[in-house]
Symmetry: D2
Subunit: 380 residues, 4 copies
């Protein structure tokens, strides 16, 4: 599928959604119509059964159109992708309930039919440190009661269900589990998101005081969240990366257009800035695609995971750096609100700050290069 | 005078004016009350008779409170400072009219009494290239008629008069002159400013179709604008610099506060980022103060002018770089609109893009280092 | 073929050849024995018939052992690779002599049997600008007389023949042709090479006053040199790149070893430096391999050529930057002569300075990004 | 005194001493003749009674001539300067012996008469961590016996006496004292120095097994070494800084010369590199001079010490960065051994690696910026 026309449509609306901070409803109408909400849903459930590498293609393209829309989509793909790609054996090996499989299939089928999922992991104070999560759950007769507050929930208020990380309130040790909590009463959005960049993600706060059924426990397994973060880091660490490669590409695209229109393209320093930005973006894209290729072919191996962390680091840093440099080449006239480079300068700064931050990635990669176990140190 | 309390008041309002983009009226009420509009006015005319070095002290302090307010003030100081500090002999040497001196004194006295002046130099297409100015003037019986449009006029709509660069419409060669045009009919503001950063400068467009008297011609000299740019580059090139040193200082200040509050200050990478930012800011401040000291003691000399261009380059680059790095240290929670670091990340990017841009400064300084005449090439 | 053991042998001798500046005779004995001098020779002539991508694999591996040895090998591979891979049709299309094909096959067969070729292109004053070459040739009864002086001839004195760029002394317009000039009388080496890095390349001066036969004219075509530079930039621009990726890898390898031995690997800044170096090297390697893959599959296309220039830029810059940073992490004890990181710091600085320099690459890539013809401007 | 002619003489010999690694005897003959060995000796003892600021002037000038010579001189100035500038009251307050004062005056008088002193602080394994020193001393009837090995002793074999840090072998807690040990039997130089840069410092190993008199204990105080490092950090941390500012200046000087001679000075990227290097060097010099001014006027205050650490960080980083960039501008022809830029590229890399390394300085400065006690953590 040629996604370029779709990306163009996203791009044409990006300034408006950035200004208002509204949920990009028209973009998601388009995504839904293009069948992209079912991208990760297996074919036998009505989806496209995409691999992580195919997800990456899509996310780069969407990110080059509108970073915020691509980030919301990334969260949806993370939920559906992780569900679709966790091997049944692994679920069984960790004692997962058989009933989970039917639940999972319903969830994935719904996605193929247009349902949108979001992730509610971060909390104020704890950030994205899963082990520090204070949102709690306790068993009830018919399932679980989940209570607490989340932040940075992209797409909040527009998702059909939320993947919620919560701790067992009855356990001394941190036992962190995932629940898929449907939108509805007891799941309240507080509009807190008003941000430098990626404004249309609507990453508001979510307050939970809700009962869910037995099968809302993902995998039917308690305490699996931290383990999953380590064995499938791609959805936590690197799925953002593709979005920021798209953003970085968009910087180049709009930079070239602006500079040519303004007749600045003959200035030697402008050309040098663009040339260096070009190779940075090309390199970041290769790293992100290499990570995606390896996740697809050899998921969870130590070497694959190194590429996953490399992808996160280079994509976030590259987007921010090229936006910084190309805006400088473009000059003051490109700092007007509504100009694509103005928005991209703000959007692009966000990647390195999303978990795992670039500084955390650098430490992880340094440890791996030194032959240590980079996950030996608690990072989530 | 201890300006720190004043800077604190500016700082407390900065988020509000940034959000609305309104002219910072309360800040200017404070500045007026503190007598700062007369900073450059000689003492015998009721002002403080400040040197460029003293201006620099003030601008750094104001910039650390609110960059946009400091930039508007900088334009006012440029007009009053250049008027006050151009030696009478120089005016006479170039054939200036004697009547100019009385006019100048009235202008400076009015500043001491609270009048605010702005600069209308840049034009769409020409940028800040004085030699490319298309706003035209022609002699009338009683003075001049000035016609054209300006852009990036900080404080537009709130100034009592504007320093306007215009070309003699009857001359084949570019003869660029300065006029001090009072606000009023024929001087219309078009609200075009809605910018990434420094939003409260209200640097709107100005449309001119107005008659002014004989003595509005600054210096009573036609064609002096380009020459002045070269012999007194400080007001064109380096007076911004002090503002951006203030902005950079403010980044450190708010970075330390945020990191301490969030308990992030013990992270080694955070400390390293702050330590490196600290020395960058300290170095930029020394360069800007050295330039100011030399402008004060030895204005216009080749060595002084090198320091002026160095000041512009290092201040703009440093502000942008430390804002970039400290925001990364601070993390996603500091990207919320209204957070000082969010605003500073946007404000700080603007310095290197204001003329002379950092790339232009680097070329000028390279030429000077190579023993060439860096003004041999037309830069304005 | 697993080249790792060979690279280890090169590595074990690198300090010695670096210290003496001698031609790495033992390394080339090993290369010859491993059949690598015939790497680019077609199989039917006794070689390995390697593609550019396969060359790249070999060059990275050799470069990780000893950069200087790999650079000499690169020159040999450039001569044999360009000869082997120039399509016969192209030669005929440009009016090449049929006799050339037999000559070419003899040359390539000799390589497979152990002959070593070098490149004599650069000249003092002209650098690598082919169009500025002053070495001249004129027709004699039986062939050509070639007269002039070359510099930066890696492997000088140890090659069996030299690819020499020379201009037609009888032509007004620059008509630059290539000759393959056998070592022997009239081809004199002047030992001028005593360099910061890559010391064992022995890139001495070559003085030519020699007669060669008709078939020494490469392709049997006069005036083809500049054209070739544009249609096959890989051998001029990017074949170095693989060597510097090897050098950069070696920096990581020796950095990890040193830091672990010294117990410095637990320092957070050390880990961060290594982590960032790791991703830079991984990215550069991907870019160089992508360029090689495209040269192999789609040689000479505009998109392939962009990757070729990207490869040169990122490989040279990355090697220099990681050597700079990792040496800083390693500390003063790694600056002792004989320490691998000390040599690598010097070797790694050379890549960006070899033609096309990084600044030239940035300009070429900027032009390409802007949609211009980057070869529209004379670069050779 | 105009030191420029002296710096020129040093510069003219620098390539030769760099190549041989010999002690720069002729340079020190010149320094001795110019009375510079008595620079820090008070006037009433026959010296110049220079302040730290005056030392800085001299060290910058010498460093611009020959970095290695300036570093040896720096060590001599550290010994004599610290002796001359430690207030008598402080010595008495810590229980120093009265006999020390006569000894100190003899030492300083000897310097004014041409004696050269060196510093023997670092040890293999411990680096410059004073608290880790293993060289031991014990009381004998008539004084002390000092036993152990030192490394990085600049000027070893050519100094008249060495300032040696040693620990009390009888004490459980680390009690580190300084001794001034005369050259002679029991003080043996092992020629280990063969380094990337600053080759002529001859910073060889020193093996000590020697008895010294009572008054060789500096200050007549045991256990004062660590305290001194904190209250007078300038001689440990920042006296190098001036040397590297000189080196950085020299990079600019030789860069301009080379680029002009080669006709490369018209290339835009070359000019931009020089322009940016120019402002970096100017800024570093201002920071180093500001630190020196404050050490002179307000020694030991927290604010002064911040400037001392800033000076070390910026001087080391700036020298290395401008050498890296200017060599790239200069191109391959400047990498020939014997070319000033070739040597400077190696010399300039050493500053950030000398203790306190740039990474340590960044941490110290980050802690100070955060309002912590940066010396609260053991750094020596």
């Amino acid at each position: 599928m040629d996604l370029h026309p779709l990306a163009e449509r996203l791009s044409s609306r990006a300034a408006r959604y950035d200004a208002s901070g509204d949920f990009p409803q028209e973009d998601f109408d388009d995504l839904r119509e293009a069948g992209l909400l079912g991208l990760m849903t297996p074919r036998h459930l009505g989806g496209s059964g995409a691999s992580f590498a195919e997800y990456t293609d899509v996310a780069i393209e969407l990110g080059s159109g509108a970073g915020a829309t691509a980030l919301i989509f990334n969260m949806h793909a993370s939920v559906t992708g992780a569900l679709a790609q966790t091997p049944d054996e692994l679920v069984r090996q960790f004692g997962g309930a058989e009933s989970f499989f039917a639940f999972r299939d319903r969830v994935l089928k719904a996605a193929a039919e247009g349902a949108l999922y979001a992730v509610a992991m971060s909390e104020r104070g704890a950030g994205s440190r899963l082990s520090q999560v204070r949102t709690a759950y306790e068993r009830t007769g018919s399932g679980f009661r989940v209570t607490g507050s989340k932040t940075f929930v992209s797409g909040a208020g527009h998702a059909d269900a939320y993947l919620v990380a919560a701790r067992d309130s009855g356990s001394e040790e941190p036992k962190i589990s995932y629940f898929l909590v449907p939108a509805g009463p007891g799941v309240d959005v507080q509009q807190t998101w008003d941000s430098l960049g990626m404004r249309a993600t609507g990453s508001h706060d979510l307050h939970l005081d809700v009962e869910v059924g037995e099968d809302a426990l993902v995998g039917g397994i308690e305490g699996a969240a931290l383990l999953l973060a380590q064995v499938m880091p791609q959805w936590l660490v690197a799925s953002y990366a593709a979005v920021y490669v798209g953003v970085a590409r968009s910087v180049l695209h709009h930079g070239v257009r602006h500079l040519t229109e303004r007749g600045l393209h003959t200035l030697p320093m402008v050309r040098a800035r663009l040339g260096r930005a070009d190779v940075q973006v090309a390199a970041a894209e290769l790293v992100v695609r290499e990570a995606a290729r390896r996740v697809t072919g050899d998921p969870g191996s130590p070497e694959t995971n190194r590429w996953v962390w490399r992808a996160k680091l280079i994509a976030g840093d590259t987007a921010a750096q090229v936006a910084f440099s190309v805006l400088e080449a473009a000059g003051a006239s490109a700092t007007r609100r509504g100009h694509p480079l103005e928005r991209l300068y703000r959007d692009a700064r966000c990647g390195a700050l999303q978990p795992a931050t670039s500084d955390v990635c650098a430490d992880w990669l340094g440890a791996a290069a030194l032959g240590e176990d980079p996950d030996g140190q608690a990072r989530w």
